[in-house]
Amino acid sequence: MEENPVQPVSKSKRKRLRKKLNKQGPKEDGGEAQADLEFVPVVQVEPPAEPRPCLKPQPDLEKEEESPVKVEEPENTQEIPKTEQIKMDVTKGAEMSREEIKAARQAKKAAKKSKENKKPEQKEEKANVPKEKAQEQAQPKPAVVKEPVQKAPVEKIVEAASTEKAVVQQKSSKELKEERRLKQEAQRAAKAQKAEQAKAPKEKEAPAKPVKSVTENVNKPAKPMLTGLARTIAAMARECARIDCNRDGVHPAFLQLEARMQSRLLEGSTARVVGLMRALRSVINDYKVPENVAITRDLVEHVEKQVAYLRGRRLMSVALDHAIKSLRLNTFAYDVSEQDAKVTVNAAIDAYINKIEQDMQSVALNLAHKVKDGALLAVYSYSCLIMNALKQLFKTGKYFRVVVVGSTTHNGGMTMLSQLSDLGVQCTYLLINQVNFIMPKVQLVLLGAESMLANCSMVGPAGSAQIACVANSQGVPVYACCETSKFSYDSHQGSFFKQNELEPEFLAPQMKNTPYLSQCSLRCDVVPERFISAIITEVTILPCSSVPDVLHSPSSDTVLKSRTA
């Protein structure tokens, strides 16, 4: 369905692309590809010299997710399938907390040791491989391999696993020893009886994948193997595309909310919070207590089922979590009647909506202190918080002009522009690639935050970091606008984190099936602390470094902010 109403952006974009191509005149395929790439913010092209064999066959993926390995994983690691974690060291390492890094380092050491011990046996096994197979194995060796030697694939996996903290992270060296012993056993068993391999527990099988299955894969048509970032992206994309999330018992209101969020028709965390509240209201109003069940327990479970659905689609953010917790569903008395419970929840929803509105007003008041008369402000994309603040500011009679920065992938900038110009504010509109030359004239950059992280960085719509960086380099102060309800205990440094979402469609759709191209466009950006001069909250204007203090302060409703699982 090409003419689908939901993705107007992509359609017009495609048209634009086509126009541009036509202007340039007919070109060869390669030329066209170049032209496409110009429009693509994040496109990673894999070098064609990559056709290495897949170390693990793709179909195994599903199986492994159910394998006992999963149980050993620490609960709050990413939900990305196990196989993908192996190659994710670069991006994931960034978001490890200090303890995690420490643990990982220890684990690494232990793993190294284990590797050394293992080497002789590995060679033995390699010798056992029939010559033909060994050759096949060597053949698809890529021209540029970072590892000096192409070791037996078995070892390679071990190595990969050792550099990867996710698997080993929380295992003590003792456990590692145990694992090694099991692995050796498994290898022996594998040699002796290949038929029984399948039955061997997955944990052992993963590192001790029998040589034979690897060589089998070599025989398959060489599939380009994604590495590093590309692999992470592919994993995220696959996970996003998965529709396996259990839909049983999910209320239609939540299904609609999910659909609208997923297809980017509901943008901005505040809008999403209100949307969530609306969906919750219909859930609560349609709720019926099953017989012989305590409402306290069942209602919480019922709501949790809905929320789990959103979480499964990577759509839960800090603000949404906070909103759910604010309802305090688990604090009902045991014998509360269904009617009373509904009234209470509805009241809580109203109260929360009121609080959102109040917070917005407070932020507007605080922002007013920072905007001088006649100032030129720059805003990026749409933020209802900033929009409201500017509206209030304009109503008080202050004169200011606004540079609205937009991007090609999101039309938030356009929304901002049309609303501001409706008010009568003097506006300039430009795209993010032109922000450099306007920056020296700007006195203040305002960024609407999706969330503030415990490491003092800000999560904003993709592109925020770029604006902040340019502003910073030219000495323009950057203010993040964020209610304290969006402060989070998480800390990410890269943009590849759990709650971040992928664009629902590719940026270069006509190159969708190109095997060496992985496309990725993330919804959110992480703006590092050093780029942000201050945070404007509903309480006061804070320096970035005080995010943890707010999180820990006893006065704020810390009960609600308890770490998200």
Partner: protein, 467 residues
Amino acid sequence: MRSNEYRVILLAAGSGSRMRDITNNKPKCLLPVGNMPLIWYPLSLLEREGFKEVNVITLDVQHAEVKKAVDKLGLKLDVKFHTIRESDDLGTADALKKVAICGEWKEDVIVMGCDFITDQSLDEMIKLHRTTGAGMSAFFFPSIPESTSVPGPKSKIRTDRDLVVLDKHNRLLMLTSAMDHDENMSVRMRIIKKLGRIDIKSRLTDGHFYILDNRVWNFIISEENSDMSLKGEVLPFIIKQQFSHLNKVVHKESKGELKRLSVDIDDEQETEETHKFFKHFTVDELQNLTDLYNGYNNHPDSSYGRYLDDRLRCFAIIAPSGSSFKVNTLASYCEVNRQVLLAENWERFAKSKPLVRVDPSCGSKTRKIESSLVGANTQIGEGVKIEKCSIGSSCIIEQNVTLSGCIIMDGVTIKEGTVLTDCLISDKANIGTNCNLKSCLVDAKFSVPSITESSSKILSGVLMSTE
């Protein structure tokens, strides 16, 4: 899975007035397409998509026959039948009201015709409906070409085309029949002013597949709705209401402006009905607030907000060409029968069911059968040549018969040496020896005498209107 999300109503009481020649003896929903009754296609689509329960509306006189046929299909669906009396001559909207008596529904409702065949995923359609927050979504697909060959006399077939007016986001702005506009069609200035650019499409067929928001559904079944036909009256009315002054989102702060807005009404005569309609659209504060804070705007260039600040929005879901069929004319019936004979098409339309070309019960004599379907217990004689035909069950085809491009229903007897090309033979017809028929339509139970040569005719015992 879907049962808590949508209620489905399948309209199977249609008499097939546009294809009277083959429906006077058989309910339309049981016409064979690829040797399966027509109603099987929507039912299996629903089953595939995880629906548990379907409400089927049938005529009382056909009820038993349809029920028997549906039971035989062995579907996992819980099919609930609702009958309407043929003598009442009810419109579709009235029929829906009959179903609604059975209980109050909180879910959204899908209304579809039993003659709708598609390879599109319902999931996608439903997703579109949800993301746009539409009050009503209708399904359209490109019409089959008019040059499609049809058995029977080559009369000039007047197809009633729909005129579908859309904006660039496929929002449905108008839906009328081209018949109603002989010379000119007027579009209200307000629509053009609001949207800047509209597309009027005349080559789209309405799939009679509608997803209705609960509020719209409540209006349709309510007392206030006095119109009879869904397609002819109710839906155009609903679509028109999009441009009512009452359709504005009323934000808290702008309540005072409501009065100002109501000044520019240009058609007062409808206001009363409009008020009745919007009574079902209660103000949803949270939805308004969500829209207010939302950063997405699909009309960034206009001074209106998202979706032009409308509460009621109707959207068209447009499928690619060849993906769907609406079997309500003889032409489309023949076309769909031709299409499903191709293996890849069969797979598209009947995903779950494997294609059985020739039923094993037909025996194996020397014969030549190419890309055709043959039903159970059909006897085929020696030296028979069959090409691109679908042949029903319990037929008798004697030796040296040549068939190409024919649709042959159940229980037909074709005697020795007959040659049939592009014919449609109804149930239990009898064709004599050494006939040569081309593009003919043979009525049910009719016996064609031996050595008949004829082309482009309707062969039947009674004189019938040829539309």
